[in-house]
Symmetry: C2
Subunit: 302 residues, 2 copies
């Protein structure tokens, strides 16, 4: 079923996770992200250089970046515009993530722009980041469907990617923003875009909103994806599904890969320790399962 190519796990706790929480103290953010780095995660979306008015939860972005232990890890921030990109350059992050929705309706609602207007902004950010020698990854929100428009064909996704590759962008996060994807669709979409854009890099940003998170990871892996976003404890949530779980859970994904002998970087037990500390910090029961159940391979006394 599987070859044994190494998987890169990208932690998005600091951005997609903390953005959905009430205020988390800056020192706690720093300490959790540094614990994730210490566990061996090699790529981190740490925060977002977004307007503090729009997302007050991440208004301490500069401070957070400044105190991360940046050896052996690629630090990314989300940037919504050129101003954010300038902050990212000042903070000397390794990569930046930008976002455009595949769905016009979602893009309009999210940033009050057309998809083409968002792409223009991305091109401008890319130009700026290139002057600083920084990589730009494009998050394609609502890749697998839009809560307003419903499901659509992969052609809708291909069309947006085509406009972006024409402008020199070559790294894409296929984002299941509201957890609508199913494994069959993941297989077909991933194969579709990889065939159409063989020189581009693709990663998967999956949510567990409807319980299919890890099934979608496997479908993505089988279709050739080797880079997955995930958050510690599975924090993140979805504004359209109160009470539903968030991003796929970092340590649950890592545990599944470990049990399947698929190589990856982080130490599973250190991730679980970090997740339990995050749970105490946030003060509610996180969606992660392995932090409650332990490893499949943990033995009990008879």
């Amino acid at each position: 079923m599987l070859d044994n190519e190494k998987v890169l796990l990208t932690d998005v706790t600091g951005r997609d996770g903390f953005q959905m929480e009430d205020w988390v103290e800056t020192e706690d953010k720093i300490s959790i992200i540094n614990e994730i780095i210490a566990a061996g995660v090699k790529r981190i979306e740490a925060t977002s250089f977004v307007s503090p008015k729009a997302v007050p939860q991440l208004k301490d972005a500069k401070e957070v970046i400044k105190h991360l232990n940046r050896e052996n890890v690629s630090i990314m921030t989300l940037v919504p515009n050129v101003k954010g990109a300038e902050f990212a350059l000042e903070s000397d992050v390794d990569e930046v993530n930008v976002v455009v929705s595949v769905s016009e309706t979602h893009n309009r609602k999210n940033v009050n722009k057309t998809v083409d207007e968002s792409i223009e902004g991305i091109v401008e950010i890319n130009r700026l980041m290139k002057t600083g020698g920084k990589k730009v990854n494009v998050g394609l929100a609502t890749t697998f469907g839009c809560p307003f428009e419903g499901l659509y064909d992969v052609d809708r996704v291909t069309e947006v990617i085509k406009k972006l590759t024409a402008q020199g962008l070559d790294s894409f996060m296929l984002a299941d923003t509201t957890g609508m994807a199913n494994p069959l669709q993941i297989t077909s979409f991933v194969k579709g875009v990889k065939a159409d854009f063989p020189d581009a890099d693709f990663s998967l940003h999956l949510h567990n909103t409807r319980g299919m998170g890890l099934a979608n990871v496997i479908a993505g892996y089988d279709a050739g994806i080797r880079n997955f976003d995930a958050s510690l404890g599975g924090i993140g949530g979805c504004p359209f599904a109160p009470g539903a779980t968030g991003n796929v859970c970092l340590e649950d994904v890592a545990h599944m890969l470990y049990q399947m002998n698929i190589p990856m970087d982080p130490d599973l037990n250190q991730l679980i320790t970090a997740s339990k500390r995050l749970e105490r910090l946030l003060g509610y029961k996180l969606p992660g399962q392995v932090m409650k159940a332990g490893l499949s391979t943990d033995l009990h006394q008879a």
Copy 2:
């Protein structure tokens, strides 16, 4: 990836679910199971004819069976011994389920017998049930690993099945009793036993203890399984993992199949309605995700 052969969903809410709860009133059990039947589920493990001392939660087994709407559905009960099988015959259930663990340690701890002693008991039950023209299914507990002994090779499973097929048993539930299985293992074990016993029927009894439940369903489906146990809302739990989720969630499995265009019997919306009622009845937040998030294909107002 998939052919479109219909999936049979077997609901185990009444047995594996209610067994893990504090006392649920008999009339509530009946009403929930009847609602699951009304939703179109065609096969139900409704309760267990086990000693009321061992499992007081199911001491009302006879009463429950008596009040089920039994048209267009196969009603099963778990029976641990000949006495239970006699009760099952009296209640005129359609099928009975018996259990033996693949792991000697687990079997000893569960029923204080060796695996061979349990098999002798199963053979005796099978003889009795045949006189009544009833089908016997063997649940192979700890098929994918034992919390005491750890993981093992599929040969351990094959060995137990061989002893059972030699005695005329031909229907097996491969049970991931404590949620240890991963998709790679499901693929290899299912293919292994199906190749070795081409005339036997196999179903999967999966738990979501470590978040891999639906990933394992897909792996099982791809390996040829068309019969899956599941419980409403994902109730069930695991004595070795307090706080972890239980069986794979019936409506979450149904939702995934629906989104993947895999045919099955129950009406998804009726299942979700039933699950929400069960949640109100039990008074705590059930693990099911779709009951919180709605269908992937539900549209929101922009």
